[in-house]
């Protein structure tokens, strides 16, 4: 195997290890009570965690609400979108 190939494999392995994040974005029309309820329902988080994340979204404009593999992140993101919440996925920074 060439040195280039080894480097490429190592880089690919590193990229595979980087988790994906689900980012929930603030929007000025969704009610806080709705956001808390959806976070609890989608991620099965307890009320305290859902409220903390919701207030982070409200005050900071966004919050990482989940991280892990890309496929699951995408599924969670789609579930948030089913309630018209603004959510995206990205590789962990």
């Amino acid at each position: 195997m060439t040195e280039f190939g080894t480097d490429l494999l190592e880089r690919t392995d590193t990229m595979l290890d980087v988790p994906w994040e689900v980012i929930l974005w603030d929007d000025p029309v969704s009610l806080i009570s709705l956001v808390v309820r959806v976070i609890k329902k989608v991620f099965n988080y307890d009320t305290a965690k859902a409220e903390r994340l919701t207030m982070q979204v409200h005050h900071e404009g966004k919050a990482v609400v989940w991280s892990g593999d890309k496929e699951t992140a995408a599924a969670y993101c789609v579930a948030l979108h089913s309630y018209a919440l603004g959510a995206t996925i990205q590789r962990s920074q």
Binding site: P28, L34, R37, A74, H81, S82, Y83, A84, T88
Partner: protein
């Protein structure tokens, strides 16, 4: 004054005027139409890619999301005259109200609290009506 939505056993009783039901159904139809029209702000708000670094979701995700939007709005339109709802249909009403709210804000370019606070009186009234629908249905469903 009676509650617009109230739980009786496993049903949610709907007590809202005919004019409001028709207004909501018309808005749901408009939202469903705009959602599949790629030239609208509603489409980009409801069906923009979940990964902002790419132009489009993969086709399966795209189809799934489109079917979810159409399903919630379609279920609302199909049941908007019902006097009571199952819990599943009540949940779809919450989703539909949220989809209408998102479309409403996208079409009026409401990006910030300031944009929201500067709405016309009629738009402000419509916004509050939709938000109240969400809040009151949550209260009934989770009671």
């Amino acid at each position: 004054m009676s509650e617009p939505f109230r739980r009786v056993d496993d049903r949610i009783i709907v007590d809202i005027p005919l004019t409001l039901r028709e207004w909501l159904a018309a808005m749901a139809r408009t939202t469903a139409g705009d959602a599949v029209d790629i030239s609208t702000s509603t489409h980009h708000r409801l069906l923009g890619p979940i990964d902002p670094t790419v132009d489009h979701d993969d086709p399966l995700t795209q189809l799934h999301r489109q079917m979810t939007v159409e399903g919630s709005l379609g279920r609302f339109i199909a049941t908007h005259m019902h006097e009571s709802l199952s819990e599943d249909d009540a949940e779809e009403w919450i989703r539909a109200f949220q989809l209408m709210l998102a479309a409403f804000s996208a079409e009026r370019a409401i990006m910030t609290a300031e944009d929201r606070d500067n709405l016309s009186q009629q738009d402000h009234y419509d916004l509050i009506t939709l938000q109240s629908g969400v809040a009151l249905m949550i209260e009934a469903l989770d009671s």
